[in-house]
């Protein structure tokens, strides 16, 4: 066991505010079309134990834009299927020549486990219900493109916060800049304990209360597979929490609507909201590549 290597990004919670600010600045300078080959000759492994479209492809583009080589290792079709442990897979990839591992895993804490056994930076690309730091960073970049600064902002996160690593990372990041956050949803999705994550969180069950005066509306996918065992019914959820054009009017006039994707139209939001002028959902995806370029540049020590 050792400390994670410099440049690792395991979560927002333990990241210095100074580092967050640095990453956000760097992300805004990064241009995938005109990238300098900062990472030429570096080998970046994308180690994905779980499905992903956005995160995987944008990390890959980010690495390649900076001149790095990438290889994708997935649980199916690799030794992981044969029962190789996370640590042994890490040792193997290190021995093959990996300079950095971008890792997604269904178990919370798996990137931390990897980072404490390897001497190369580990980037958490989402671990179970724990954190998704690159998503929080790209969301922050997106917010800053539409709002002058975080100062005085109010944000509302609606949906299945309990199961959401995106929500946890967003809460850790935005509260650092004193953004006031309201978490909204039924108790199954937003247990009271959610308010203890960081100081500055508020929980409400009423979407009207949650939306009034907010600057940022962050929606989460309703994971229908998780609803199965829950008491809450889909129709009830839609009736009480779906983001509609009418409800969005309760927010500030210039409020933005965000969603980490994949979105399910007609469930957590209507098509009208998804495609409406306040939606920045596509913009978030767009910001994913420069943000992940910044993360990789920091990880591999070329830009401090």
């Amino acid at each position: 066991m050792n400390k994670p290597a410099r440049g690792s990004l395991l979560g927002i919670e333990h990241l210095d505010t100074k580092e967050i600010v640095g990453l956000l600045k760097l992300a805004r300078r990064m241009n995938p079309q005109k990238a300098r080959p900062l990472l030429r000759g570096k080998r970046v492994v994308l180690l994905f134990y779980e499905a992903s479209t956005r995160t995987r492809s944008s990390f890959e583009f980010a690495a390649k834009s900076l001149g790095a080589m990438t290889t994708l290792v997935q649980s199916s079709g690799s030794s992981i299927e044969k029962g190789e442990s996370v640590i042994d897979t890490g040792y193997t990839l290190r021995a093959v020549g990996a300079d950095c591992i971008v890792m997604r895993h269904p178990s919370a804490g798996a990137p931390h486990l990897m980072a404490t056994h390897l001497d190369i930076p580990i980037i958490n690309a989402g671990d179970g219900m724990h954190e998704h730091p690159s998503q929080a960073l790209l969301d922050a970049v997106t917010i800053l493109k539409h709002k002058k600064s975080f100062k005085g902002l109010q944000a509302t996160i609606i949906g299945d916060i309990f199961h959401s690593r995106v929500a946890r990372s967003a809460c850790h990041l935005l509260t650092r800049f004193e953004v006031k956050i309201t978490l909204c949803g039924p108790p199954e999705f937003v247990p009271d304990v959610a308010a203890t994550l960081v100081p500055g969180l508020r929980v409400t069950r009423h979407i009207e209360d949650a939306l009034r005066g907010t600057d940022v509306v962050m929606l989460l996918r309703v994971q229908t597979e998780r609803l199965a065992g829950q008491k809450i019914r889909l129709q009830d959820y839609i009736a009480r929490y779906q983001m509609t054009a009418a409800r969005l009017k309760l927010a500030k006039r210039d409020a933005i609507v965000m969603h980490p994707g994949p979105i399910i139209r007609g469930l957590e939001l209507t098509a009208e909201v998804a495609d409406g002028p306040q939606s920045v959902i596509v913009d978030e995806v767009h910001n994913g590549v420069p943000t992940r370029m910044a993360i990789l540049a920091r990880a591999l020590g070329k830009v401090r």
Binding site: I87, S107, L113, G128, R168, P191, V193
Partner: protein
């Protein structure tokens, strides 16, 4: 191990704490032929002692009894063996350990109970097997309690798994009542703890881990206490109790004069859920580390007499079973060598629980729970099992030096006060510093 010792041993100059005999004074103790032959004020014992043990400045106590250990044999000797586990027990000051039946195979027959007690196992302290309550601990059919008891089982349990079915639990308590055999329950409503790896609270939410609510323990204890009250003469022992609500149920049973007992582990009186930190699997056990409020309630119950025993739930695991994702890591930690130090450091020094009470929790308390007659006291005629410890000794526990085969402990590098100096089983010194 229980072979009579020919030579006699005189323990001189120590301070004897024998709660069962209500002794808390300077006393000399003479052991011969595996028994206590005399206990007297200093320098009064004449002509005894082929060998002498100088116990000046030390506490002399009845041999410590651990009601809850996993020594992993048969079947998992890569984690621990009876030889290595009992060596760790001796180093921790324990002279008797009660072994849990969740081995491979499960100890659910008289043959396996006898096997555990054979000299070939290499035990250096007394081993009292607890047998499975149901066949294969599958919760379906009761085992042959009577045959298991005759073979030497001191209790029955499906530890690791709870007996959830009301009818099976009722039948187990009834049969136990007929035989005066305690039924030990691992209280966990597994219907609500599936895939959970720690206690439900702010820490589990922060870490994104599925978690067990305290109520998953309390509801089972509550039901069991109710059954114990209904079934005359039945004996219920609540293993590794960890929540304040479960303590309430135990108090209710005790007030109603039901034969309900409970044990607390050192880690539950020392640590809380926050100590899991960043997914440290050496802080993963079942029941999990609970909230600060639960720990407070446990400290009160240890002091006020609600709790009958401190038991370690010593649960060794190999490194490869712990160095994995938190959710996949095995539940359990080792505990035999740190129990006394943790009790003296946290219960006595920090929380001012008298040493007499702590000794009671390690000796007469557990002896009563499983009716280990002749143990838990040094009254004349008792077995010559003695624990001699230094309550002021400061030391650092190093997992690398453990006598256990495994090193899965959250207390590696921990500074403790209080340590066993000598452990005497049947009149023979099996551990001495």
């Amino acid at each position: 191990m229980t072979r009579p010792e020919q030579k006699s041993l005189l323990i001189k100059g120590g301070h004897l704490i024998d709660p069962a005999a209500r002794i808390n004074a300077s006393m000399d103790v003479l052991l011969r032929d595996g028994r206590v032959v005399e206990v007297a004020v200093p320098n009064k014992i004449r002509g005894g002692g082929d060998e002498k043990f100088d116990a000046r400045g030390l506490i002399v106590a009845p041999g410590f009894i651990d009601l809850h250990v996993h020594l992993r044999e048969p079947g998992q000797s890569y984690k621990e063996t009876i030889a290595t586990g009992t060596a760790a027990a001796a180093a921790g000051g324990f002279t008797s350990v009660c072994t849990m039946p969740n081995t491979q195979p499960v100890v659910d027959t008289a043959e396996w109970v006898s096997w555990l007690r054979q000299p070939e196992r290499g035990a250096v302290v007394n081993v009292f097997p607890i047998a499975a309550a149901t066949r294969g601990s599958k919760g379906g059919t009761l085992t042959d309690f009577s045959a298991l008891q005759r073979a030497g089982a001191v209790a029955v349990t499906d530890d690791g798994k709870p007996i959830l079915d009301d009818d099976i639990m009722r039948m187990a308590l009834r049969l136990g009542a007929e035989l005066n055999l305690p039924v030990v329950q691992h209280a966990e409503d597994t219907r609500v703890t599936e895939n959970c790896s720690m206690h439900a609270g702010p820490t589990s939410f922060r870490l994104g881990l599925r978690a067990m609510p305290g109520s998953a323990e309390a509801t089972v204890v509550d039901r069991d206490v109710t059954l114990a009250q209904q079934i005359r003469e039945s004996r219920l022992h609540v293993a590794h109790l960890s929540t304040s609500d479960a303590l309430k149920a135990v108090r209710r049973g005790k007030r109603a004069k039901a034969r309900v007992t409970c044990e607390i582990t050192p880690h539950h009186f020392t640590l809380i859920d926050e100590n899991v930190g960043e997914y440290d699997t050496n802080f993963k056990m079942n029941p999990p580390l609970r909230s600060a409020t639960d720990r407070e309630a446990i400290l009160v119950a240890l002091a006020d007499g609600t709790v009958d025993a401190i038991a370690t739930d010593h649960a060794p695991h190999a490194a490869h079973e712990k160095q994995v994702e938190f959710e996949r890591a095995a539940f359990g930690i080792t505990g035999l060598e740190t129990a006394l130090g943790l009790a003296v450091t946290h219960l006595h020094r920090t929380h001012k629980i008298p040493l007499t009470r702590i000794v009671e929790l390690f000796t007469s308390g557990p002896a009563r729970v499983f009716d280990l007659s002749g143990r838990g006291s040094l009254a004349r005629g008792s077995f010559a099992d003695v624990t001699i410890f230094d309550p002021k000794k400061r030391w650092t526990f190093e997992a690398a030096n453990t006598r256990s085969l495994s090193r899965n402990t959250p207390f590696d590098g921990c500074q403790l006060t209080g340590k066993a100096v000598a452990t005497i089983v049947a009149g023979r010194i099996v551990y001495g510093m």
